[in-house]
């Protein structure tokens, strides 16, 4: 039997018909993690599982004296959400993406939405960051057109989302990656708020972004060390390639 290096463990009720799955992993500006955490806290999502792997750093998070896995699964109604407080090590990226997408397929997911940031060097000068979409699947293309979301047309994606996009395409899963213009090296709650506005329209849920703005400074300070750790992992996976000129299709 083939050994799996990454596994999703369900500890609560995850039996949902055609769920939508939001994914927030540490990446540029920690946009996905900030927004996913915000959704968990403000929408009253319940913890229903976790992702485990021998390839992840051996970490357990203590909250109110109880241990929690750093890469957790949450649910509210037909919305499932995966959020990680650890940067995915490059060695674990392929297996993590495969396991997440195989699991999403087994749940007959209607839409998978990785959320994150795309680096912009002049972020200081941008008041409201733009959000770009990478749609996989015909119906998703229509969503992007209907909501007038700008397409990420040319460029490179490096990291866990690159593999999730590739796996979704291979498995015929509908996937809408939303990336907001973000500081490359600093936690960016403003970028998370920009994605939240688009995400709430696409999946028709209410996300109150005002706490993201009001608590932006606290979020930036709390996320400092995760950002530092994520930068190291991004360097190891060659994230700087996202700045490189395209070699093909030009």
């Amino acid at each position: 039997m083939e050994r799996k290096f990454v596994g999703i463990v369900e500890t609560g009720d995850v039996e949902v018909k055609n769920p939508k799955i939001v994914i927030g992993l540490p990446d540029i500006g920690l946009v996905g993690v900030i927004l996913a955490n915000h959704m968990v806290q403000t929408m009253g999502m319940r913890e229903v599982g976790y992702v485990e792997s021998d390839l992840f750093p051996p970490i357990i998070i203590l909250h109110e004296g109880k241990p929690h896995h750093p890469f957790r699964l949450y649910r509210k109604d037909d919305l499932l959400l995966l959020v990680s407080e650890i940067a995915i090590p490059p060695i674990a990226i392929y297996d993590t993406a495969r396991e997440v997408c195989d699991w999403a397929k087994s749940k007959n997911a209607s839409l998978i939405m990785p959320i994150g940031g795309t680096p912009v060097p002049n972020r200081m000068a941008i008041e409201k960051p733009k959000v770009f979409a990478i749609p996989i699947g015909n119906t998703v293309g229509k969503i992007v057109r209907d909501f007038g979301i700008e397409l990420f047309e040319e460029g490179m994606i490096v990291g866990p989302y690159a593999r999730i996009i590739a796996e979704c395409e291979k498995l015929g899963l509908s996937c809408l990656t939303l990336l907001s213009q973000s500081y490359p090296n600093y936690p960016d709650p403003g970028a998370a708020a920009a994605v939240a506005e688009v995400l709430s329209k696409v999946i028709n849920i209410k996300i109150d972004v005002s706490p993201l703005e009001e608590q932006a400074e606290e979020i930036r300070l709390r996320m400092k060390d995760l950002m530092k750790r994520t930068i190291l992992e991004m360097e190891r996976m060659g994230k700087s390639q996202e700045y490189e000129l395209p070699a093909m299709y030009s």
Partner: protein
Amino acid sequence: MYERRRRGDSFFEKILNYFTEMRREMDEFVESMFEAMRFSRPDWDVETCCIEPLVHVENTPESVIVTADLPFVESKEDININATEDMLELLAEMKKEVRFERWGTIQRETTFRRYHKLISLPEKVLPQEAKAIFKQGILKIILPKKFKTTPIKVE
């Protein structure tokens, strides 16, 4: 001949595998050394209520650009920057105390009031010609390089 080549390949493969394994072990050792250096001390100090900010150093052809994320710092008056040719010291006061309660063991109820960071610069700079701006909680310091390049004409 085929057998001989195979034996030869096998010998070289063994050597190659040996060096590959040695290289991997060295990489792991170097990585663990860096890891130990990075995390041998926390980037905060309970006694002085100081925390290190996130900083990024960019080496461009003309200058060294240092940025720092300074949440809870209100204005440029709260920031002090000292520079030498190859070192930058950054101090900044927060507009309010930031308290972390029920966190860890030794650092329980830690309060932070200021940022402090010493940054080694990748090249010698002209500190007296440096410029700094503070916007949206991000500090950007542009330090012109001491050794400017001289253009060479292509004949």
